[in-house]
Symmetry: C2
Subunit: 198 residues, 2 copies
Amino acid sequence: MTGGPITFYYEFSSPYAYIASERIEALADRHGRALVWKPFLLGAIFKHTGAGPLTEIPLKADYAGRDIERTARLHDIPYRWPPRFPFLSVAAARLVYWAGEERAPDLTYAFFRAAFARGEDLQRSETMLAVAEAAGLDRGAAEAATRDPQIKARLADETDAAIQAGVCGAPFFLVDGEPFWGCDRMEMLDQWLETGGW
Amino acid sequence: MTGGPITFYYEFSSPYAYIASERIEALADRHGRALVWKPFLLGAIFKHTGAGPLTEIPLKADYAGRDIERTARLHDIPYRWPPRFPFLSVAAARLVYWAGEERAPDLTYAFFRAAFARGEDLQRSETMLAVAEAAGLDRGAAEAATRDPQIKARLADETDAAIQAGVCGAPFFLVDGEPFWGCDRMEMLDQWLETGGW
């Protein structure tokens, strides 16, 4: 099969994006599609949509907490709540762009698993840098990169580009111009790629 | 199999609830579960959650419109946008409680199909009453019922009860104490009933 890549948009503080990250590579492989890894800042989307973290919204909070844990169990994905939630993920997201496309998948797994499989606090700089170092980055260079104006601008630009592309939440997938929002649209995405759409 | 009923919470102005309504009876039948039909006023939930109609939210509007049509096509469910959207569904919801449990399913199908399969304007009293009459209700009695203080109170009470039960959007399903929110949780609901949960 051939076709364009699947662009995977995600925010490190999103539990559903974490769950999606553990499933997207197998899905892309099944259909012979490449993956493009695009962390972005969900807070910038919230400014447009007026939404906020699910776990801070009356009525939705209880449901979302339960649904996240249930969805992880369904897919046999380990799940722990980080000590702070939601957390500021800007430094981690910057490092993915700094590390480059080749290292993006492994670095993404490393950050997501630290936060949601082991329940570590990625908002804490020391913790985040230790995860980056364990994933193969030079710690000192990585620390500097999180403050580099060019890297900062890159993440801001990528977030703007995501908004321009219609990204309205996380996780979000775009393939052959077709958008899919949510961990719970991955079955539909799978079916879309299988059938060529409907 | 035995077990408690599936309570189906819905708002007549919700396209996803319409799609769910066309699929829920087959799902319940597969698992030998009864259905309890509970229309409610989504606007009352929005007051708690701060959410609003998807089609009025920047970024989400375009996506939601596309996703609704795509989801209907996937399930071979006819779909047309009503002339006003969202629309006030309070009178239709009141009539479901007035008509009683036995007539609730057919009346629900009649209202949803008028709005979303034929694109009729249920907010218009004449249209709504014509649909109710075609579904077997006495038109004069139905018209009076929409203004009956007891029926009004019933819908308000049912909406409050839905909020108490944790309903945070539409459609919403509750079975054996387990909540499922969204047309896109019906596969998980199906799997939950099949396996007894996980």
